[in-house]
């Protein structure tokens, strides 16, 4: 997670190419005897996103390395280390092309209540395929609990008869305006209810909060993990490793399909956003999730660089 509020580059290029480096280093206080790691560091191939080149460098040499697809269709790498080691470095290098997803301004959408109503089970009739696809993401998940508090927070945006996307954009704008970016305020384990109460957090928290609001209203939405092309502070050069992984949400809008929304920056992701993976929440697509035996206290360093290729 970034240490400062990521500022997106001012303008979305029509088409873009990037070189992304994502380096993760663990230094353990005591040797780790056994370690298993699950990596979501390989960008998902998408109609608007082409991976030109991708490499994962791992040190020390793993005793097991396999690539597979997870239940959400994301590429995942599983690693295991059987020998004692004091540190672990994983370096993902990606060259990728990203196209704009939508041409022109997005419509406000059909009234949101109609979509919610369409999702209600209606007995033994085959439901439309897009409904089945969407409804998988309509329920609580380990990091996204639901409840009346979230529905109440979302209510001012979801006024009767308002278009689904228009209402969601309004919600996104309110989260952006009312919540403060504060890396000290939360950790991976902070419950989303606490984020709502304290009104601070990082992009992950804002994504979880927005998901909780949407799903509490009965609207399917999913969590997206990825990167963002940021704008270096005025007058200074782009720094290597100064970026971070990013997170936003994706809402299913009938007729349009999944539409991404970035509540941290109050914008609809475009060619400045690079998608790694999606799932129900952070837990499904953590860039690196592992279980180690031993290790004592450990230090973790993550460095991300998103470099535009001209």
């Amino acid at each position: 997670m970034p240490l400062h509020d990521p500022v997106p580059a001012p303008e979305a290029p029509l088409a873009a190419a990037y070189r992304i480096t994502h380096a993760t280093e663990y230094r353990y206080g005591a040797p780790v005897a056994l370690s298993q790691q699950l990596l979501h560091l390989t960008p998902r191939p998408l109609p608007w996103q082409t991976v030109r080149e991708h490499r994962l460098e791992v040190e020390p040499l793993p005793s097991l390395r396999l690539e597979r697809w997870d239940a959400f269709g994301n590429p995942v790498t599983q690693l295991a280390f059987d020998g004692p080691h004091d540190s672990l470095t994983v370096r993902a290098e990606t060259e990728i092309e990203v196209l704009p997803r939508f041409a022109g301004e997005l419509p406000p959408g059909q009234p949101w209540e109609g979509w919610r109503q369409a999702l209600v089970y209606r007995g033994a009739l085959p439901p439309p395929a897009e409904l089945l696809e969407a409804v998988q993401f309509a329920f609580p998940s380990p990091f996204v609990s639901l409840g009346p508090a979230f529905a109440a927070y979302a209510a001012p945006s979801f006024t009767p008869g308002r278009g689904l996307l228009a209402a969601a954009r309004d919600l996104m704008g309110r989260i952006h305006a009312e919540f403060e970016f504060d890396p000290q305020a939360t950790s991976v384990a902070t419950p989303v209810a606490e984020v709502l109460a304290r009104k601070r957090g990082v992009c992950q928290d804002f994504a979880h909060l927005m998901l909780a609001c949407l799903r509490s209203l009965g609207l399917p939405a999913r969590y997206v993990s990825g990167y963002l092309l940021t704008e270096p502070p005025p007058g200074s050069p782009r720094l290597i490793g100064a970026d971070a992984s990013h997170a936003w949400v994706s809402l299913f809008c009938p007729g349009l399909g999944w539409v991404d929304l970035d509540p941290t920056n109050d914008l609809i992701p475009d060619s400045r956003h690079i998608t790694l993976a999606w799932g129900r929440d952070f837990g499904d697509v953590s860039p690196m999730r592992g279980v180690i035996l031993g290790g004592g206290a450990h230090e973790l360093e993550v460095a991300v660089t998103v470099l535009p290729l001209v």
């Binding site: 239940a71 033994a124 439901p127 089945l132 409804v135 329920f139 009346p148």
Partner: protein, 859 residues
């Protein structure tokens, strides 16, 4: 003959009565049993009830087995009268249960596979994606033979018209089959003649199918001619049904393991054993699936086996039931099963489910709101903390509140029709001779075999605590029953249990010894021995105190000084609970301190605390102890607890210590006579010997280090030492005289033929560790030296002790002789060597308990 039992048997009041037909006549399949009961004398029945109680107490059958008597463990309640089901009725019931298991298995295969049920609208998506038991990472994971549900249970109830209904399905890790086995072993002995004459179906064949089927579905089983290794995975002794896990493991012959006993290397699961890693082919799990793999499932749990799911995915191990199978444990699913059965099996559902409305459907919600009085509201998904609410109980605001809850989150609730349970006769404990009628339910089990589901002929019957109860709960005073399925053919008498309880159980040859089990056997040895010598010391002190009329005499001085130094006696300045009422200025008397050392389990080095640890370590290896062995340990704790509660006088405390020593002696007897000689046993014996060595060396060294004048209070000062080392008889038979220092030292320290001497322990430990190192390899310790090097060295120094230095009438004249100091120094060194050796053994052979896996996350 007293009046018949029927004359006061309550009317069924609209319920189906299991024993009586509508006209009040005894049903044919109950006649033999009822006549027998009716003819039995009150004395006979009392004896039978007492037998049941005793077996349950001695077998330690509980929900929550943690050995603390103040803890939450609850003795299992068993009514001696079985629930009897005739053969033709059972055939239908069994067929319906088998069909239901087949159906639920097909539902699981669909949900984790193509999801046609969702696409066709036969199942609402909310029941899948909204169910915490639907494990996303398990999607598309293939199961051998497409079998997800290996072990299935269903709770049944009988409605007033005599039909059986399914109330709830258990598909995650069904519990209770072990309890029903235990019930069967007890009840068949209460009514042995009836059991035989009525031709009751035996259970053993079912459990053999469990063994065979798991072996059949296990991948790569029989590879290299080796039988597959099947383990039973338990969350551990804190689980409420741990008793059953240990029981089943022992019965089925599967090693009982906890998550940290297993490890995944590559994509293969191994058991950590004494001799290294052994491939595991199948896991019968009693741990909930989301706790099974912290890498891919719940990450906040240290209980699981990281990497297990990938091993399943790669087809390298069978996990039964399949990870994710909890998703069909749902209050809402049964309503959809009839249509699903037609679709998936092409036949009608044979057994109805109790009428259920899932509130996620608008018409169902409407119906529920309008008929609340006739319905029970339950959570749609397990794992929610929500006790069933009877609509009729709610008035006014409460009712509005519930309706609002249903409106706000309808998909989370189901409404169920109230079931009028059938009633079964139970034997009253509070009357001399009376049958009570209690609401009853039956849990039935099925196992997947390559030929289809096989249903256990019998089950776990349960009765409610009161006549009008609406739910049956073991927590609320209910009891269990054996279920007798009558056969109209000759029954198979095949048994998995060997007929007699004897030297059969501790460790069966060829089974894999997990490191954790070995560690617990080692500690069982140490604690058994520790309880023995703690009791012995306290008896020595208490006897002398009583003999001296309650005032500590001079002959006690040395014993108390040594005991205090070793922490066997609470200090003078704190007296624990006993003296709480006394003014703080008054120090506790010696009698109070001794009583506290015996009974106060808060005194960490006292007898009560030692017994607790003993029972704890026995609990951990229960599946490896013979029933007699286990009974002896239970009885010991039970007696101690009973004595403690009676606030005993010193004389009674003494009797209690005698009893404890007797029990310890029988435990030692089991060690020598009942345990198979394998490496686990050797570690157990090494534990015993190390503990005794440590005790003797410390006690004798402590004694020798006393100033001469402090220990030479007449011969009394040596007699207690002989008693402490249980060597009085040997001494007398050899010397026929008052104890003197030289022969006492010879007997207690140097004599390698005295099983209570220091040298004997050191020599035996050396021998067994030598054997262990030979068979396990790793002959060298950390520094490259064999484990026993220090011990050998010290033993050699003992052997070279010059006994003549201890010559003399009365010690105390020996100013400047240093013989005692020199010997004490060797003995202290031995005690220190024991402590170090124990640590090194733990490092080399046992699980590192402090070393648990933990999760790391990077973004």
């Amino acid at each position: 003959m007293a009046r018949t039992l029927l004359s006061i048997y309550p009317d069924s009041a609209g319920r189906y009565d299991e024993m009586l037909a509508a006209g009040g006549a005894v049903r044919p399949h109950w006649q033999a049993f009822f006549s027998h009961l009716d003819a039995a004398s009150p004395e006979q029945m009392r004896a039978r009830l007492a037998f049941v109680q005793r077996r349950i107490q001695e077998n330690g059958v509980t929900y929550n087995v943690y050995a603390d008597p103040k803890g939450t463990d609850r003795p299992w309640e068993l009514d001696p009268l079985p629930l009897i089901i005739p053969a033709d009725e059972w055939r239908q019931l069994a067929a319906a249960v088998a069909q239901r298991a087949t159906l639920l298995n097909a539902v699981l295969a669909d949900l984790y596979g193509p999801q046609d049920l969702l696409a066709s609208g036969l199942l609402p998506p909310a029941l899948v994606y909204g169910h915490g038991g639907f494990l996303w990472p398990c999607r598309q994971v293939r199961q051998p033979g497409d079998t997800f549900l290996h072990f299935y249970a269903v709770d049944l109830a009988r409605s007033p018209d005599g039909r059986w209904w399914a109330i709830a399905d258990r598909t995650q890790a069904p519990s209770g089959a072990g309890y029903s086995l235990e019930n069967r072993l007890i009840v068949s002995r209460v009514f042995p003649d009836l059991f035989r004459d009525l031709k009751v179906e035996h259970l053993a064949g079912f459990f053999r199918s469990v063994q065979e089927s798991l072996a059949h579905y296990a991948p790569d089983s029989g590879e290299g001619g080796e039988p597959p290794l099947i383990v039973l995975l338990t969350p551990g002794p804190y689980n409420e049904t741990y008793f059953e896990h240990a029981y089943l493991a022992r019965y089925l012959g599967f090693p009982l393991v906890e998550g940290p006993d297993l490890t995944v290397r590559g994509e293969t699961v191994f058991l950590k054993t004494l001799t290294g890693l052994k491939r595991v082919h199948a896991i019968l799990r009693r741990q909930d699936d989301d706790f099974c793999d912290p890498l891919e499932l719940r990450g906040d749990s240290a209980l699981g086996v990281p990497g297990l799911l990938q091993a399943v995915r790669a087809g390298r191990v069978l996990v039964a039931n399949a990870l994710g199978s909890g998703v069909v444990e749902s209050g809402a699913l049964p309503g959809f099963l009839p249509a699903i059965c037609e679709r998936l099996l092409g036949e009608p559902l044979q057994m109805p489910s109790v009428a259920t409305w899932w509130c996620g459907e608008a018409p169902a919600l409407k119906y529920t709101s309008e008929h609340l009085d006739q319905l029970v509201i339950k959570a749609a998904f397990p794992g929610r903390r929500f006790d069933p609410i009877f609509g009729a109980d709610l008035k006014g605001a409460q009712r509005e509140q519930l309706l609002a809850r249903l409106q706000a989150e309808p998909q989370a609730y189901v409404a169920q029709e109230l079931v009028q349970l059938s009633q079964a006769p139970t034997w009253s404990r509070s009357h001399e001779r009376r049958l009570l009628a209690r609401p009853a339910g039956l849990r039935v089990y099925a196992v997947a075999t390559p030929q289809g589901y096989r249903v256990m002929p019998g089950g776990l019957a349960r009765v409610a605590g009161g006549a009008g109860a609406r739910v049956i709960s073991m927590q609320r005073g209910g009891a269990s029953k054996d279920a007798w399925v009558l056969s109209d053919e000759p029954v198979s008498t095949f048994s998995l249990l060997k007929p007699s309880i004897g030297a059969r159980d501790v460790v069966r040859g060829g089974r894999s010894l997990s490191s954790r089990v070995v560690e617990n056997l080692f500690w069982l040895g140490r604690y058994s021995e520790r309880c023995d010598h703690t009791s012995r010391f306290l008896r020595v002190a208490l006897t002398r105190l009583i003999d001296a009329g309650g005032e500590p005499g001079p002959e006690l001085f040395a014993a108390l000084a040594v005991g205090e130094a070793m922490g066997l006696l609470p200090p003078r300045d704190e007296a624990g609970e006993q003296a709480a009422a006394r003014p703080p200025a008054l120090p506790p008397t010696l009698a109070e301190r001794l009583t506290r050392a015996v009974f106060d389990d808060a005194w960490d080095t006292g007898l009560a605390a030692g017994l607790k640890r003993l029972q704890w370590s026995a609990t951990q290896v229960r599946e490896r102890l013979s029933m007699d062995h286990w009974h002896a340990i239970n009885r010991l704790n039970h007696d101690m607890q009973a004595s403690k509660e009676s606030r005993p006088e010193p004389g009674e405390t003494l009797a209690c210590l005698d009893q404890a020593l007797l029990s310890c002696a029988s435990l030692a007897g089991f060690t020598m006579d009942n345990m198979t000689r394998d490496d686990g046993w050797r570690f157990h014996v090494v534990g015993r010997r190390l503990e005794r060595l440590h005790f003797l060396a410390s006690a004798i060294a402590g004694f020798l280090a006393l100033e001469g004048k402090d220990r030479s209070q007449g011969q009394g000062g040596l007699e207690w030492l002989l008693e402490l080392a249980d060597s009085t008889i040997t001494y007398r038979s050899r010397y026929l005289s008052q104890p003197e220092l030289l022969p006492v030292i010879d007997l207690l320290v140097l004599d390698e033929d005295n099983p209570h001497s220091v040298a004997f322990q050191a020599q035996v430990v050396g021998r067994y560790l030598g054997r262990l190192q030979q068979s396990l390899g790793g002959g060298a310790g950390e520094a490259g030296a064999p484990f026993t090097d220090d011990l050998e060295l010290l033993l050699a120094r003992l052997r070279s002790v010059d006994l003549s230095r201890f010559q003399g009438d009365v010690c105390g004249d020996c100013i400047g002789c240093n013989a005692c100091e020199d010997l004490a120094a060797v003995l202290w060194a031995l005690a220190a060597a024991v402590r170090e050796l124990s640590d090194r053994l733990a490092m080399r052979y046992f699980t590192h308990v402090g070393d648990v896996s933990h999760q790391t996350v990077a973004a």
